[in-house]
Each structure stands twice: as C-alpha cells, then as structure tokens.
Amino acid sequence: ADTGLPKLAKKATYKVGFAQTESNNPWRIAQTQSMQDEAKKLGWQLVYTDAQGSAAKQVADVRSMIAQKVDAIFLSPREEKPLAPVILEAKKAGIPVFLIDRNVDQSLAKAGNDYVTFIGSNFIQEGQRVGQWIAKKTNGKANIIELEGTTGSSPANDRKKGFDDVIAKNPGMKILASQTGDFSRDKGRQVMETLLQAHPEVDVVYAHNDEMAIGAIAALEAAGRKPGKDVLVLSIDGGREAVQLVVDGKIAYVVECNPKFGPKAYSTLKDYAAGKKINAKIINPDREFHSANAAKLLPSAY
C-alpha cells in the first residue's frame, strides 16, 4: 500500500543525518559513537548535529539537514510534540525519517505514514519491569527511594509512570521519597545522601539510570549501609560499569536500554531502500541483568 512515505533509492553509499538531542551523559555518547562507527564502517557520510538539550534547536538542526538535502534523517527527538512538525517538513522535502530511542506524538505524525519507523525501547515498560521485579523480590513490601531523571525529560516521566503503575497495584510498596538526581552521578549521590538522613528505613533504591545508581551506592556506602544487602539498588540502562556492580552484588537488578543503535538503524534504512516492509515500531529486545546472569552477560554490556 502506498503510505505516502518518501521513497529512498538504493545506493552504495548514503548521506544521512543524525540529529542527537544532547551529549551530556555516557548513554548519549555511546549512542552517538555507535551511529558514527557504523557509518564509517559502511562508508556513508554522516551529518551529525547536537541540540544541546533544546527541542527548538533540534528542530533548527533538522531543518538545516533538510536544506542540505541529506538522503535520510535519523532523529532522536528530544520531545514528543515539538519535533513533529519538522518531521512533516522532511516528508514534504522527500526525505525519509527514522526515529530512534524516543518517539513523537502519534496524533501529530504517524509512524509508517509520516516517518518510516520508530526504533527503540519502551521507557514505560522499563519502569514497569523494575517495579515488577521489586514486587516479586520483596513480596510487595518495600520502602523505596526513587531517584528521578532530569525533571521534565521524557525518559524520567515515562520511567516514573511505568513504575507508578506497578506501585498502584502493590499497596505494600511505599515510595518514601522521589527526587530528581538529574541523571548524573554527582547529583544522584548528593540527593541520596540527604534522603538517607531523612528516611533511614529505606530498603530499595530505584534510579532512573545507571549513573544515579552508582552515585547512590557511594552515598549508601559512606553512610555505612550495604548496598545489595540491607538496601537493594535497581537501575535502567545496563552500561558495563553497572553490570559489573551487579556482578559485585551491589546492584540488584538492571533493565537494559541499549544505546548501540547504529547497526539496527542502518540496516533498517537499507531494508527500506530495498522496498521491504518496515514495521511502524521496532522495539529493541532489551535484556535484564541480575545476579544470576550478570557475569555471563558482562562482556556484551555496552
């Protein structure tokens, strides 16, 4: 069926754009790296921009890619709504767009119609998985401190939302405090230090990313608590350092959210150019790490 999506010719090499949202944390850096490495391997030209955390700048970035007439655009949209109009502009200019790791508002731009597809994880599900694991492990009884990501960012909102869904079903699981740690190790540590004073009864720490979890572990240890024993620490992302901490028994459980999008993204583009049917949503098969499998999976963590 004709979806109205712009066509992409089959070529040996492409000039593709990658509009990154920011580069201020290891996860993003790994993602950019993966996109660049893979492009180099394929011999493609990559036009890379960085919105420095601003959706408005990201729109301007994408527009400059349109002006440069790239063959296709990979976009990691900073926000669900603000990036939708520019996707339509790209479509009008005949440039297919692939969204990675974050999606846009489906009422404004439709996958498979306005843009080719969304490749990524489901942030809400990630939060749910953490919640469910806790519910199972603690028999639905836990005193939880939640370290949120940057206030207002969509992974922070979604990872909280998914988690809250589970909490709502388990009256025994109590969130003692939920504060932002800005996705950063330093801030995560500081916030944890403080919250630990106010809520010494905590037995579970849920961090929205690895970095804050590692910060929280430092705070727990400084306070003489034993992460992994008296306090369970859980996080999302599954970077090598965090998985190592799972092996060491300090982190109890990590849901993977792999930033290595390069291979998948480009192979999807090639499939699209070849005229294959592309699903509107391609969810990464994200793993989970816990004491039983961490040691084995460690080498494959990003």
């Binding site: 000039k15 754009g17 990154q20 580069s23 660049q36 030209q45 990559l46 036009v47 890379y48 921009t49 960085d50 420095q52 955390g53 601003s54 959706a55 408005a56 700048k57 729109v59 301007a60 970035d61 527009r63 400059s64 890619m65 349109i66 002006a67 440069q68 007439k69 790239v70 926000e79 669900e80 709504k81 603000p82 990036l83 939708a84 109009p85 508002d105 404004l108 940057t150 206030t151 207002g152 960012s153 969509s154 922070a156 909102n157």
Partner: protein, 329 residues
C-alpha cells in the same frame, strides 16, 4: 588617541557608524562564506527556517538591550520563555489573540516582579533575576506538571509560529517589527533618553529629576513581555509548551547584545546592533551544521563549543576595539 576632531567632518560620527557595522561586516562575511562554501545555504528554505528559529532570540535580546542600557541585566528571560510557552499552550484553544496576549501578560508580570524588587527592594538586578530565573522555571514545571503541554492544533494559534505573511515567516515579522519599534523608542522618545541617561549615571538621573524607578519598571516589564512573546512563538512554532526549554538563553541574548556594541556598564547601546548580533550568533550554529554536512572535518559538538567560544571572543574583541576608537576620537 587621534590628533584632533575637526569641526567640519566630525570623524567621531563616521567612526561610530563604522564601528557599529563591525558586527554587520562579520555577519555579511559569514553569509558570503556560507553561500560560497555550502550547497543549499543561501536558499529560501534555509534562511526562512533560520529566521523562524532565531526570532525568539531576537525578541528576548531586544528586551535585554533596553535592560542592559539602564545598567541592569535580566537573567530570567530563558525561564520566562518556558513559562510563557506553557501558558500559551494551555490557553491556545482560545485562539491566536488570547493565546498571544495572556502569555505576554504573564511575561510582563514576571518583569514587573523583577522591576518591583529592583526599584522598591533595591536589590541588584543580577540577584533578582537570578532568583526569578529559578522561580519562573519552577512555575513552568509546576503549571505543566513537568511535561510538555500540547498546543491546540486545530485553531489559528499555531499559525503564529508556523504561518507565513506575505511569504515571510510570522515570527520573523514579529521580530523585525519589534526591532523597528525598539529603534524608534530608543532614539526618538523621551523614554529612550531616560533609559540611556539612567544607565550612564543613575544617581545623577535621579537628582536631575528623571523618573528613574518608573523608567526601570517599564524596561523590565518590556523585557518580560518580549520574553513572553518569544514563549508564544516557541509554543506555536513547535506545537507545545515546553517547561524545560530556554536554558541558557539569557547568556545567548546577553552575548548578542554585547556583540551588537552595547556596553554592559550601561548608558551606551543601539538596538540595531543587537539585531545583527542575534543574527550573527545564530548564523554560527547554522554554518557549523552545514560544515558538519560537508564531511571534510566532522566536528564533534565539543569542538563546536570551543569554536563558538572563540568566535564570540573574536567578535567581542573586534567590537570593543572599534567602539573604543570611536569613543576616544
């Protein structure tokens, strides 16, 4: 020091004119460079989207110009943009008019709070607006519930940001008209004279019987209102109110004002200098994006920061050299 100012030709004037074109010359050179080097650079599409985006910076930098000329500073602009965009999105269902007016009033309100604390409370503008930078951001997050707020797509509200008028983006119109009014106000009205005089010597202005507090009040209200307007553009252009947007915009605006030849010590400045300052700083981003597309040297975003910093330094040094020459002759 030049030797003598002769009465007939008044070289001071000519120098002054030339110096303020420093920023203009830099802008033109950069555009010529871009046009020759990059395909698709000088195209209607690129220039229009460039203006559409930079109109927001233009609006806040315009208000900032007036504030800085009085010897003050307004650090709250970025947060006010975010707050206003959230408010705009919330009221966007009421149509373009209310969707425009209410956020502008909210911005003016924050400006009024700034002004009140500065004139009545006698607290340094830097501190007051540093506080409202935090406060307005908090309010934006609170009102929006920490999330982007969708704007009404069916009404005419989003036309403000996304529409064209006579083939030219509406936000760009708003910026240009605002700047024309700004130029007029600063050079040809009493309010403009008061603004300049207060920045030169506030005590003297007070003793000369000028309405110092009233003038400062309106200057901060103006800055707030223009930030509110930028918030409207943000919400309508991107279809959402964004509580986390606008971080660091105050610094971009300040840089644009200074690059445009306005002194941070107050008392000296031009509105049109700021206009070119905004375009120049925005153009750097645009050029860097295109340069990356060339693929000759793929600059990481980190190198881009370094280059932007150095470019800013270069322009500011050039500008200060030129202004100094003109003011000493």
């Amino acid at each position: 020091m030049t030797t003598m100012p002769s009465k007939t030709t008044d070289p001071g004037r000519i120098w002054k004119q030339l110096s303020q074109q420093g920023v203009l010359i830099a802008l033109v050179l950069l555009m010529v460079f871009g046009g020759l080097r990059y395909e698709g650079f000088i195209t209607e599409y690129n220039l229009e989207s460039f203006l559409r985006y930079n109109a927001m910076f233009g609006l806040i930098a315009l208000g900032m110009t007036f504030v800085i000329i009085t010897g003050g500073i307004d650090l709250s602009v970025g947060s006010v943009v975010a707050l206003a965009s959230v408010v705009a999105a919330k009221v966007s269902g009421q149509g373009a008019l209310l969707g425009f007016l209410i956020p502008v009033l909210v911005g003016a309100g924050v400006g009024a709070i700034n002004a009140g604390l500065i004139t009545r409370g006698r607290i340094a503008p830097f501190i007051v607006t540093l506080a409202t930078l935090l406060g307005a951001r908090g309010l934006a997050l609170l009102v929006s519930g920490n999330q982007s707020v969708s704007a009404e797509y069916t009404g005419n509200f989003i036309q403000i940001g996304q529409g064209d008028f006579l083939g030219f983006p509406i936000p760009a119109w708003m910026m240009v008209v605002a700047f024309l009014i700004g130029i007029f106000v600063l050079s040809s009205t009493q309010f403009g004279r008061y603004t300049l005089s207060i920045g030169d010597n506030e005590d003297a202005a007070r003793l000369m019987g000028l309405p110092v507090d009233r003038t400062k009040f309106w200057v901060y209200v103006l800055s707030g209102a223009l930030s509110g307007m930028a918030g409207v553009v943000l919400a309508s252009q991107f279809g959402a109110g964004q509580p986390t947007e606008g971080v660091g915009w105050e610094l971009t605006a300040i840089a644009a004002v200074v690059v445009g030849g306005t002194l941070l010590t107050g008392g000296v400045g031009t509105v049109w200098g700021t206009f070119f300052g905004v375009l120049l700083l925005g153009m750097i981003f645009n050029v860097l994006n295109f340069e990356n597309g060339k693929g000759v040297i793929s600059l990481s975003v980190y190198w881009q920061s370094v280059i932007r910093g150095m470019f800013l330094l270069l322009v500011v040094i050039l500008q200060s050299r030129l202004t100094r020459k003109s003011s000493t002759s």
